[in-house]
Amino acid sequence: MNVDETNLPGLGRRKDFMTASGRRIGVVERREGQTELIVSTWDDPDTCQASIPLTSDEAATLGNLLGGTHLAMKLTEEHKDVPGIVTRQFSIASGSPFQNQPMGKACIRTRCGVSIVAIMREGEVLPSPGPDAVLHAGDLLVAVGTQEGLDSAAEILRHG
């Protein structure tokens, strides 16, 4: 993917690319440190339909959502020959019983036969996390298992 980087003298930096559907999408990094998400209009790729200011938390969460979907899609693609195996994402809400706890405490693999294959955090992927990986609010867990196993894993993560 070709990302264009353009300097905006005195104001900041724009990083964007053209999507297959003909829209330009990207971010503007202001000199003062704010980030704005920009999306072009459909009829004039030069202009922006929206430029949405994001806090660093919001930007990280958005990055997780997009990156998580991508990872889940790839994993689903890889597992499609094994019937009954599904990939799903779980997000750790603030107030979850396992917030700031090592992941091993939830015993998800032992209790439901589900593997957590990655944690998405602030736009980065932590692949194959061990049982001592500490979960934070806002983390996105990518899990692989059977439909039933994933249902009970979701229940455990939500209510302990």
Binding site: T6, N7, L8, P9, G10, L11, G12, R14, D16, S21, G22, R24, G26, V28, R30, R31, E32, E36, I38, S40, W42, D43, D44, P45, D46, T47, C48, A50, S51
Partner: protein, 393 residues
């Protein structure tokens, strides 16, 4: 009344009124510059109320205001940005210079103000207000637009051109003659190039010299350095403002960012007083006779700026609506036109109608610029054929 008490009361009243004006400007979403100018007209020679006590203070503060305006302008750019801007946009920059310098210079000659007057008025109509343009672009959410870098690089070129123009203007106003003028051009070009080179290679040393973790020390360092450099430049006949601009360029990175933050309130105060001081020295009754000329000049130079923007955006491969947006973003004139006119008026070698014309012109352009940028899309939409909607998938 005790002269000190009188000065304090006058100054307090003026600053307080400026606060009210700035609030009004914010409420109706326009630049406060035209309102400051009107405020100055109201308080000055021949205005509604005549203020005598604060003249001296207003004069010196106005000078400091100009230095801070240019210092902060320099802080916004790094030397590397200026070089890339220059390399990429020099053609648009030259077109901009020719198209927008000539109307002002031509009118000055027509009115019989001579070569010096033409030099001044050309500068007044040439230079866009980068402050107003940047604010309009941000407020209208056009930071992510493709034509925005085109607009910004033209503004960068103008600011660099001003670094060469101001010393020449200073020398011309001092009446040094052709040979002296040529020397001034030589010195100006040499100094600007040298400072840019030094800033590019050794900018971090300059930053380190003024930097401090303590904000009080930092403020005093930066301000002191700016005034020293400005004074030295002024003594060398290079124009105080350009000295400050060059210092601003040499300071880079996080030091520049912090300096901007810490100097902003000071700049706002002193620049406001500068606009008022300029208005103070202009007799309001001299404005109606030149209003017609100001209107003609405003319409003509709005058109030439739009043309510049259209051409530059077309070169960058921007579609039609974006070309018009680029042109309209450049229309506003403001602080730097007043800086140029202020230099000329202070020297006393230009007729006083020039101050009146420049005031009326900037009043018009500072109001018209943001309006043009905001309404250019609905205004030009009927003339632009839009592509048919893409089929919904």
């Amino acid at each position: 009344m005790d002269p000190l008490a009188l000065t304090l009361i006058e100054l307090g009243a003026v600053v307080f009124c400026l606060g009210l004006l700035a609030r009004l400007a914010g409420r109706i979403g326009m630049s406060p510059i035209p309102l400051y100018l009107l405020g100055g007209l109201a308080f000055g020679a021949g205005g509604i109320i005549k203020l005598e006590g604060m003249h001296e203070f207003a004069h010196l503060s106005g000078e400091i205001g100009v230095i801070l305006l240019l210092l902060m302008l320099g802080l916004e750019y790094t030397a590397a940005e200026l070089f890339t801007g220059l390399r990429r946009s020099w053609q648009a920059g030259v077109l901009d210079l020719v198209l927008n310098f000539l109307p002002g210079a031509g009118l000055a000659l027509l009115l019989g103000w001579g070569g010096v007057g033409a030099m001044v008025m050309g500068g007044v109509t040439y230079i866009s207000s980068s402050g107003i343009a940047a604010k309009v672009i941000t407020d209208l959410g056009r930071l992510g637009n493709r034509e925005t870098p085109v607009v910004l690089s033209i503004l960068v070129f103008e600011d660099l051109a001003m670094a060469v123009y101001l010393p020449i203007l200073t020398a011309t106003l001092a009446g040094v003659g052709f040979l002296g003028g040529l020397t001034a051009v030589g010195i100006a070009l040499a100094v600007v190039t040298m400072v840019l080179m030094v800033a590019l290679r050794h900018g971090h040393h300059v930053s380190k010299a003024v930097h401090s973790e303590n904000s009080e020390v930092f403020l005093l360092n930066v301000l002191g350095a700016a005034l020293l450099v400005a004074g030295a430049a002024s003594a060398m006949q290079v124009s105080a403002a350009v000295g400050a601009f060059m210092l601003g360029i040499a300071i880079s990175g996080s030091t520049a960012h912090n300096a901007t933050r810490i100097l902003e309130p000071l700049r706002d105060l002193f620049a406001a007083i500068f606009f008022v001081a300029f208005g103070l020295n202009t007799d309001p009754s001299s404005i109606p006779p030149v209003l017609g000329w100001a209107l003609i000049l405003a319409v003509a130079t709005a058109a030439t700026k739009v043309l510049t923007g259209i051409w530059a955006a077309k070169q960058a491969g921007i579609a039609r609506p974006g070309r018009f947006r680029a042109g309209a973003a450049l229309v506003a004139r403001g602080e730097f036109s007043i800086v140029i006119a202020g230099l000329a008026v202070a020297s006393g070698v230009v007729p006083h109608q020039l101050a009146a014309l420049a005031t009326a012109y900037v009043l018009l352009m500072a109001v018209m610029g943001p309006l043009a940028a905001r309404y250019v899309e609905p205004l030009t939409a009927p003339f632009i054929r839009r592509p048919a909607p893409a089929p919904q998938l």
